[in-house]
Symmetry: C2
Subunit: 345 residues, 2 copies
């Protein structure tokens, strides 16, 4: 049995990169995937860490994502829309290609949008909004998912868990960032309750007949509920409209029809909106970045957390001392590196 | 005693316009205010109907809004930001001035933003997102309020009830529109519980010491809670950042400091983002407007409502048969028309 290991962020990056290249991904796809997966592990965000490697490779093995895709940035058409065609590859590589153009456009025009089309999407959105904030811009990001959530007052799965993320740049420290599912809970949490034989909290789900249930098995056959009642349901619907229909890509029910399963990474598009606080605040009193710090201090000063605070604390630890991986995790990485796609269930 | 009356939308518009002009508002301010107030009454949205006239006039009487302000549209600077200086008047007149420029910019660039600065804001946001959808565009609108809501995990009022609104244009029928406070309940609802001697539902509020309370009196001395726990709290914080700080205008705590009360209309700014589905969907398969109809049909088909459905049903009634006003409401309108600002408490 391999021993538990303390691995530097860079060493883990190289290991994960090698796994993806061994499985047949080209350098562009492998590097972008390794980057977000290692970022998750580094930030102690285990649900988006190395645990995700197998899901990404399972999608490759099923032929539902192109491992050798080369994303294409459309030429500047004079508008505020930056378009990246992921060419059937992962969203992450397409995002990395487009973000300099998005930042240039938003800095020049004040507000701009990036559309990613025809991509496979399986990562959190916070690495993307963080990348935009690193260029001094505020960012909004959203995308559909698979139809597993009923609209408020409805009885059947229609909406996705549709993540919604936002970032605001801060000087000399990590940005203000939130990134959450618009469902009340993640599907994985319901699965964990099922395995543990535990009832769900009230309000999480409905059964196949549309009745409220606390039974995780009935919930998995039924639908999850949006967060915050009709308000969260409205936001999830907005995400279908803006980041599915408006950008000419699949909605959550169309994704599920296309894949026929929720164990592969969903195939759809993504919308990122970037705004320049400097451009917006121009000619107005006060420095927006300094004023935002006053707001954050007041939040923290009354005992509330800023979102992502725990993640940023873990990042400091990981960068100083490395990332701790269990013997089982190391064995899994070794098996994937040795076996490539054949090692994927 | 005056009898109950059925009044046409146009007749009510003229009556409310006359009240505002009698109270000293110039034509621009009076017409824009009458428009949104009559729209509220027409849509059976009583909390934003003629009941609001007195609050608007109270703010004029207190010298916290300029009744004769002439909003100013900044010249096109080649960016995607349309700026309107409300010059200390109501937001509504500034919005009406800026909306053609916003629509032109969003149609041309795909996405654009309108910033309204130095305005008094007391109306719902749905009349504004509806006006943008009437030009074939999707719209997001948001603004701060007064600090009456504690951040999730916090203990004191900091955030406003910060409304968040969205609209999507539909052909030959009213748009898809939502508009909600990011607090779990409106302050007025807590006041109604107090008057009725009823306890609040759990989760609505905390007392002055930061502990959860169901006592409406303790809640009014403490703080309201955001909707949807930490997720709603994050959205309300985002609104402070984007529609307060980024646009160089007041945040909710600054509004409350400036006014010293919550009985006057808050003075701050507003952010509206407009997007062209035609521009975004260009070159992609499918017509975004037709695809959106499929989504709406599926929502309604499973027994869920679309937001604003009740409001649009009331609108059809009002436009066909007029608006029913009680004798007390007519008497109040008569008193305001006869007395002007002197009739305002």
């Amino acid at each position: 049995m391999t021993e538990a290991v303390m691995m530097s962020v860079e060493a883990l990056q190289n290991r994960v990169l090698a796994i993806f290249e061994r499985a047949g991904l080209n350098k562009i796809q492998a590097a972008a995937l390794a980057h977000v997966i290692v970022a998750g592990e580094r930030d102690a965000c285990k649900s988006h860490g190395i645990y995700r490697i197998e899901g990404a490779l399972r999608t490759v093995k099923a032929g539902k994502v192109k491992p050798d895709a080369v994303p294409a940035l459309a030429p500047d058409d004079g508008s505020a829309i930056v378009r990246v065609d992921a060419q059937g590859g992962f969203a992450n590589a397409a995002f990395e290609l487009g973000v300099p153009a998005l930042a240039e456009r938003a800095t020049r025009l004040g507000i701009a949008a990036m559309v990613i089309n025809d991509c496979s999407h399986f990562s959190a959105l916070w690495p993307e909004v963080e990348a935009v904030t690193a260029r001094g811009l505020a960012a909004l990001a959203m995308c559909p998912s698979y139809a597993t959530v009923a609209p408020s007052g409805g009885s059947k799965p229609l909406l996705g868990t549709n993540p919604f993320a936002f970032g605001w740049p801060r000087k000399d420290q990590p940005p203000y960032v939130f990134d959450f599912a618009t469902s009340v809970a993640a599907r994985g949490e319901i699965e964990l309750h099922r395995r543990a034989g535990k009832q769900l909290p009230e309000g999480w789900a409905i059964d196949a007949a549309g009745n409220p249930t606390t039974d995780p098995v009935a919930a998995l056959e039924g639908a999850m509920m949006p967060f915050g009642g009709h308000k969260g349901s409205a936001i999830a619907t907005m995400i279908e409209l803006l980041a599915g229909i408006m950008i000419g890509d699949l909605t959550s029910p169309e994704v599920l029809d296309y894949l026929g399963t929720t164990i592969l990474a969903p195939f759809h598009g993504e919308l990122i909106i970037a705004m320049s606080p400097e451009a917006f605040a121009k000619g107005r009193p006060g420095d927006p970045f300094a004023r935002a710090e006053v707001l954050f201090e007041t939040i923290v000063g009354q005992g509330a957390r800023l979102p992502s605070q725990r993640r940023f604390a873990a990042r400091i630890q990981s960068e100083a001392k490395g990332i701790s991986l269990t013997a089982a995790e190391i064995a899994q990485l070794d098996a994937l590196l040795a076996g490539g796609l054949a090692a994927v269930n």
